[in-house]
Amino acid sequence: MSGGVEILVRVADIEQATATVRRFTLAPLSGEPLPVYSAGAHVVVTMDDDGHRIRNPYSLISRAQDGSHYRIGVLKTPNSRGGSIYLHEKVCEGDELVITMPVNLFPIVRTGRKHVLVAGGIGVTPIYAMAEELRAASAPYEIHYAMRDASCGAFADELVEMHGDKVRLYRDDAQEVIRVDAILPHQPLGTHLYVCGPEGMIDAILAGGRKAGWPVENLHSERFLAPMGGAPFSVALAKAGITATVRSDQSLLEAIEEAGVDAPYLCRGGACGQCETRVISADGELIHNDHYLSDEEKASGAKIMTCVSRLKGRELVLDL
């Protein structure tokens, strides 16, 4: 389980928040409270679309005080290969889904003196949670939220209700754009900025921050298009005489274990070196995701760390 601990949830409620965004309320099947998380965290949702397994990360908007539910918000993505369309068109109230434990790659910096939150479109999901956490902690913050038009405003209405004049709204259809050069210069020293939204918007805000002389350590962003997992490939274990498939939602080590071979490991995170395995041949490119092998070793293609690394290609033959 390289993806972490899994939690079974039931879709307790579906709300059409805007023309293109649905919000899902997820309740734990076990009845045990869902884990507490820090704002900015996401869960990976596993969906089973007629045997086709999809795993997408979605930011957590909120958690009920008593842990009885989480909320996520999902944009219906044009040209989708499946995940968001599946959630919009196939998932009904009462359906079951599998999620991972929360993971936070976009945390609030607690030493910050003030926090400027900037969201565009669906990028509002983690920002929504961060604003709530800052409000609860009585920390200084402000929110800038850009949306297409007033019909996109489900999140906007709630943000204004909860955060009052700390929120500034910008509407594309009214030619309102977030002006970095107007926001940044007047912030106190030690302010941190967090931006989540479309690629172009993130790039513009970050560039504006650097231009205004902000240290890069104070500029934070999350992009929703991070690559996840990898393509499936086949692995042949020469000594054991076994061939197995490494699915896209599985690590190489997990596939080897599933095939019944007791391969070495310790950390399962690419750090300890225990799972180092000799590559006999590789029909494709080795994708080294570990911190253990040196750059030269990685380039030589002679070894692979099975816990985190994989093959982009057809077949990998290992000395196992």
């Binding site: 972490g4 601990v5 884990p35 507490v36 998380y37 820090s38 900015g40 965290a41 005080q65 008593d66 434990m101 929360p102 993971v103 936070n104 945390p107 910096v109 607690r110 030493t111 902690a137 350590e217 310790l266 950390c267 399962r268 995170g269 690419g270 750090a271 300890c272 070196g273 911190h291 253990y292």
Partner: protein, 346 residues
């Protein structure tokens, strides 16, 4: 049935000792006859019944006496417990982790009931009965980290994660192997590891840090570290070096078995939910040479470890002065037979 807590001291008359059961469950840290620094991190999964890793937080027969020793240290030196203001959410995370774990795994000694944010905590061995509001510091007699770690064996450091690094921004450290929280507070992972020899050059800390930055909620990890201590003293701090440093000179060939102790730290790391901080627990276990050799495999292996230990590591661990004497004393337990792989007794 429960644990029979011993009354013993870790200073002055040093009455500490291990029962035969405590010896068998001792976290012997060598799975082979040689030792070198490595990224020896593994998942903190439940181990065999009665072992030191049966539960995530290990409470043993020394609990009550260790907590008394901690109280003495804190009374003499309040700076052993420090927390920067932004670490308060992490402090509460730690309260939850420890109370949940202790009450779940040792229900005959600790009980926790929750009614929303109203929590009721009962610690029978220490005679504590406390009702408080989770998240409201004013409802506890002292700040949350200090409150709960005065009731849990092991030192604790709370690490804030930012700028792709970990920062030691809070902790309670009264049973340490010669390092100081007051000195390290506010430092980052590379800075506080500065004094360690060799490990930086072989990339141990780079890899360990990258691994820890990705540590996930619900998937704690652990490692073992070790050193040696003269007399069963928990507080071997730089602050009190004047008290214990000179005890190294009291080792003689006759008293090695009784005075020289192997000191092993079970270090576990959890990602904390509210704060996204990491807690690092350092749970120290002591065993005298006399006790160690009651396990024949350990008696054979440990002198071999000491003989082959690289000089810089021996110096760093501060054991050069009595290393030879200890090897001599132990050698009568090493018959030269091969040892089986792995940590556990045969």
């Amino acid at each position: 049935m429960g644990i029979q807590f011993k009354q013993e001291t870790f200073r002055d008359d040093y009455t500490f000792s291990n029962s035969p059961e405590a010896i068998r469950r001792f976290p012997f840290p060598f799975d082979r006859d040689e030792y070198m620094y490595s990224v020896n991190i593994e998942q903190h999964m439940p181990g065999p019944p009665k072992s030191y890793v049966e539960f995530p937080i290990d409470i043993d027969e020394h609990y009550v006496s260790e907590m008394r020793d901690r109280a003495i240290v804190l009374k003499e030196d309040p700076l052993r417990c420090q927390s920067l203001p932004h670490m308060l959410p992490a402090e509460w995370d730690l309260v939850e982790l420890l109370m949940d774990s202790m009450s779940k795994h040792y229900p005959e000694h600790f009980q926790l009931t929750k009614d929303g944010d109203r929590w009721h905590w009962v610690n029978q061995p220490l005679g504590i009965d406390q009702t408080f509001t989770f998240g409201d510091t004013a409802t506890l007699p002292c700040p949350p980290m200090e409150y709960i770690t005065r009731q849990c064996q092991g030192d604790f450091a709370l690490l804030d994660q930012r700028q792709d690094n970990l920062w030691m921004d809070a902790g309670i450290v009264t049973t340490q192997a010669d390092w100081s929280l007051d000195f390290d507070i506010g430092m980052n992972f590379m800075e506080w590891h500065g004094p360690v020899p060799i490990a930086h050059d072989i990339g141990v800390f780079d890899r360990a840090l990258k691994f820890l930055l990705n540590l996930q909620q619900g998937r704690p990890v652990r490692r073992l570290n070790w050193t040696m201590t003269i007399n069963p003293r928990l507080d071997t701090s730089p602050e009190n070096y004047h008290k214990w440093g000179q005890e190294k000179a009291t080792v003689t060939p006759e008293n090695v078995g009784d005075k020289v102790h192997l000191r092993v730290e079970l270090q576990a790391l959890w990602r904390l939910p509210r704060s996204n901080a990491i807690v690092f627990s350092i749970r120290a276990y002591l065993i005298s040479m006399e006790e160690l050799v009651t396990i024949p495999k350990w008696g054979r292996r440990f002198p071999r470890i000491l003989k082959s230990l690289p000089e810089p590591i021996a110096n760093y661990k501060g054991l050069s002065r009595y290393r030879e004497m200890t090897i001599d004393w132990l050698s009568k337990y090493d018959d030269g037979q091969p040892t089986s792989p792995g940590f556990f007794p045969d």
